[in-house]
């Protein structure tokens, strides 16, 4: 489906950040509603939202949190206010990762920064967990990037559920792009059927009116992501679409190597699906 509602994570303090500018730009591009979400978990996470909405006079800390988040919301709405742009604000008394994942139900695309500025565990978003839990495509914006024109898009293909999801989730971006490269990086040099797979994906995209597509099969490098990073540079890619590989093990999220490395090192925005 089209992107008609976008959700951006807003940190509780400091500058709004480049990812918020990018989110605003995308809201204009897709003519979508933009929802800003901030999460801040109180020391006791068992407090109900009602206690937050109507703090009793004794809850000085909660009162302070509420005032700060309300101010942040006003700041967000004022900074993004523009005719023809619909902006909304939600602040939630919970860990940002939980808040973003849960509120993702009201959006088609989630936009987050690659690195949380805050070191406070009650206010810092964990990008990896957000990607795995949202059930929506998540656009991860690297530090210091404040604009995105997604003209040249690369898809990191692999025959997995996550990559199939990523292609479907990215359709609105792909339909607005000038060109798309589908690339499969081979595991240990085995190429059996890779170009047929890529052609099949290209045919699927063509049915959705994405037509300017090239396919590339690349050998793996010793460091798995360097092949992708070189492609991004040589082809001037603006946006990388990829499956996010991860699973929960003993309550900790474990990530596939490429996902982890892209989160840490990608110079461009990445759209992840799980």
């Amino acid at each position: 489906m089209a992107y008609v509602s976008l959700l951006v994570h807003v940190e509780c303090e400091g500058e709004l950040g480049g990812h918020v500018s990018i989110a605003a730009g995308l809201a204009d591009l897709f003519r979508a509603r933009l929802v800003g979400v901030a999460g801040w978990a109180p020391m006791s996470v068992f407090l109900a939202q009602e206690a937050f909405d109507n703090p009793s006079p004794g809850d000085f800390h909660l009162q302070d949190m509420k005032t700060l988040l309300d101010q942040r919301g006003k700041e967000f709405c004022a900074a993004l206010d523009k005719p023809d742009r619909r902006v909304e604000w939600r602040s939630i008394l919970d860990f940002p990762t939980e808040a973003v994942a849960r509120e993702a139900r009201s959006a088609d695309l989630v936009i987050i920064p690659a690195i949380a500025r805050s070191r406070d565990p009650f206010r810092a978003l964990d990008p990896g967990s957000a990607i795995l839990k949202a059930g929506r495509p998540v656009l991860v914006v690297p530090k210091d990037l404040a604009s995105l024109s997604p003209r040249r898009i690369a898809i990191a293909w692999k025959d997995t559920r996550e990559a199939r999801r990523a292609v479907l989730d990215a359709l609105p971006f792909l339909q607005k792009s000038d060109s798309v490269v589908i690339v499969e990086v081979l595991d240990e040099g085995r190429s059996n059927g890779a170009s047929d797979r890529l052609k099949d994906v290209a045919r699927y995209l063509a049915r959705h009116r994405v037509e300017i597509i090239t396919e590339q099969v690349r050998p793996a490098d010793f460091i798995p992501i360097s092949s992708l990073l070189r492609l991004i540079e040589s082809e001037n890619i603006d946006l990388l679409v990829a499956g996010a590989y991860g699973h929960s093990r003993l309550g900790e999220w474990a990530f596939g190597g490429v996902t982890r490395d892209l989160l840490a090192e990608s110079p461009i925005c990445c759209l992840f699906s799980h």
Binding site: M1, A2, V4, S5, R33, A101, R102, A104, R105, S106, A107, D108, L132, K133, A134, G135, R136, D159, T160, R161, E162, A163, R164, R165, V167, L168, L171, P172, R197, D200, V201, R203, Y204, R207, H208, H274
Partner: protein, 273 residues
């Protein structure tokens, strides 16, 4: 995105002709391409290698499978004549892995229920297909050969799978007269449940889908039974739900509602994982 391509598992087994009729009708209504698919794997993998006599037998069986799949493909094309773009994929390998992989070519995958009596190696495992396809999967119970989209029940829960299911179902919800969202709720959590369901309703409204009824159910029965009972009382045509499953020591385990709907529902269900 509207459905541009629909995939249907058609292996000429019990009920698969009815399922194909349903798929043909859906492809025509959505003006989508229709891809028919079947896999065949007669020889258990642990017997397939090693013994030379087995290798010889495997070759002749391989040829026979390919011929059988070709014949099924002809039946598929005969039934899908009215679809503008129909394509057949009959490939001699395990059906479950095959359908999940080839789902890359479609927006929706239509499959049938598991037949416990059958022991063929070409059976498709519906649960595993749901968790591995990366696409919404429409499960068609035996004997059903058409899908009215008038009344749809969305089974909501605040999870990734449920969020996926709602978004994946939008092309179907857009054609419905009645969209009902229900959440199974614990006693005391009514206010939160109401808020969740309202929020999903508002999201759907952004996509021009009007939710006509929002409800929460208390469970006395198992959640799956409660859902099915609600959907039957409401004469629903389709239940939309998250498909819950995870792999443990190589075995797939499924959540209670998913398992219940896979086994018992007499109406079509749309699952996303």
């Amino acid at each position: 995105m509207p459905f541009a391509a629909i995939m249907v598992h058609f292996d000429a087994g019990p009920s698969s002709h009815q399922r194909l009729r349903l798929a043909v009708d859906l492809a025509i209504r959505f003006e989508a391409a229709l891809i028919g698919i079947a896999g065949r794997l007669y020889v258990p993998p642990f017997l397939a290698d090693g013994h030379p006599r087995n290798a010889e037998r495997r070759n002749s069986e391989q040829a026979e499978m390919t011929r059988t799949l070709g014949e099924i493909g002809e039946k598929f094309h005969a039934a899908a004549k009215q679809v503008a773009h129909a394509q057949w994929r009959g490939i001699p390998e395990d059906a479950t892995g095959l359908v999940a992989r080839e789902a890359r070519a479609a927006d929706l995958v239509i499959i049938g229920r598991k037949h416990r009596a059958q022991t063929h190696y070409y059976d498709l495992d519906p649960g595993v297909t749901i968790v591995r396809a990366g696409r919404p999967v429409l499960l068609v119970p035996d004997g059903i050969d058409s899908l009215d989209l008038r009344r749809i029940v969305v089974a909501w829960k605040d999870t990734r799978e449920s969020r996926r299911a709602v978004r994946d179902a939008i092309p179907l919800l857009k054609r419905a007269d009645q969209v009902m969202i229900v959440e199974i709720c614990e006693h005391g959590a009514e206010a939160q449940t109401q808020q969740n369901v309202n929020d999903v309703g508002n999201y759907l409204l952004q996509h021009d889908v009007t939710v006509t009824q929002k409800a929460y159910l208390h469970t006395e029965l198992a959640a799956a039974d409660e859902l099915v009972r609600f959907a039957e009382d409401e004469r629903a045509d389709l239940i939309v739900a998250g498909g819950y499953g995870h792999s443990r020591l190589g075995e797939w385990m499924f959540g209670g509602v998913t398992r219940g709907l896979l086994r018992e529902s007499r109406m079509c269900s749309l699952f996303s994982h």
